[in-house]
Subunit: 219 residues, 2 copies
């Protein structure tokens, strides 16, 4: 539990950032009785990585925890949020009011983690004006104006593959800084716009790969 | 484009397997004029990794491609499918007939990649009997019997967090070999059952992290 504190902005690898997200999910989900300490072993077991890995990852966040005792759950959650950049709220817009878009809007986890979906767009005029989870569907043609007005930084794409490039271009044009893409296409974005793609068929392929080949890496 | 062919069953890293999925998505999506050759540079550009990385990954699949010319698109797609274990069909069941489950059922990508969702279950008696994308919703209590009957190997979980553990246990009991989990919980499964978890809030966290810290790794 030693180590130099990571500076805000210092590089954390993607793999480390993903593990931190998982640690946070565990720690934040456990009941705490006031100042309860969490041993690294408990986090390691829950996430399925080695104890040493957890201690290494958390050491990079600064002087957290007490040797032989563990980490203060609240302090740990706060340190992880800071390292990931989610110690503040993020405003996002969602494009695509189909089943997937509706599922994401109703998904409680986003708001709990500080993500606020502030507008919903669709390319289909027939859907415009419908209400979904408290948001009115707006026309995709208004994306540029509304993203600026709402000061949204992130865009979530749940449109069909054939619409994805045009909508991503509109979001980029509108000034979003990051896009979470669920369409099964490889988007090319300007360097200043970050991209995370969740290709659902690829997730199933990866599962098949692990079943087929008996992969037993740490999850 | 040299290298020893990878034996079926030989270990491929998870990262390499994910890149192969992306290469496949690109190559399979491009129009081919008969025996058109695809240069590694074109794949590299589309996926956003280095040319050398593509060549290294593909060299591991055996003697594919011709130096200075490229890869035969069809042969390449077949080799990647074999390496990933998706050169055969996979039968899956889906549990959770909410918006996310419906989105996945209607998603064409699964069938195109050889994944056949053969049954749909829900814990809510009110949904049992409804038809979604050609499947009738069945009671979750029948999972064990139906998975065996249908010879399904994979389970897809789109139930709320609080139901996830029980449903995962039922699927495991029923003998599935892998679970694709969308519930925001960390599941613990017996060693012989593979798990891929897609936590949608984690994907947004990772996007926020990349925006915040200006991450510019290869996507």
């Amino acid at each position: 539990m030693d180590g130099q504190p990571i500076e805000r902005g210092q590089r954390l690898s993607r793999a480390a950032a993903q593990r931190l997200s998982l640690y946070l999910r565990c720690v934040a989900g456990w009941p705490t009785d006031g100042d309860k300490m969490v041993p690294s072993r408990r986090i390691a077991d829950a996430v399925g990585v080695s104890d040493a890995q957890v201690r290494r990852d958390l050491a990079a966040l600064g002087h957290l925890g007490q040797r032989g005792i563990g980490y203060d759950a609240k302090e740990l959650a706060a340190a992880i949020r800071t390292a990931l950049g989610i110690d503040r709220g993020w405003r996002a817009v969602l494009v695509g009011a189909g089943n997937l878009g509706r599922a994401l809007l109703k998904y409680q986890g986003f708001r709990a983690q500080g993500f606020d979906i502030v507008a919903l767009f669709d390319c289909d005029a027939a859907k415009v004006g419908q209400e979904v989870a408290g948001l009115k569907v707006e026309a995709a043609s208004t994306i540029a104006a509304r993203v600026t007005e709402l000061n949204a930084e992130l865009g979530v794409l749940t449109v069909p593959a054939e619409a994805a490039h045009a909508v991503a271009a509109a979001l980029t044009e509108a000034g979003v800084r990051g896009i979470l893409n669920f369409a099964p296409v490889v988007l090319k974005l300007p360097k200043q716009v970050r991209l995370v793609t969740v290709d659902l068929a690829i997730q199933l392929e990866q599962l098949a790969f692990r079943v087929q080949h008996g992969d037993d890496d740490d999850e």
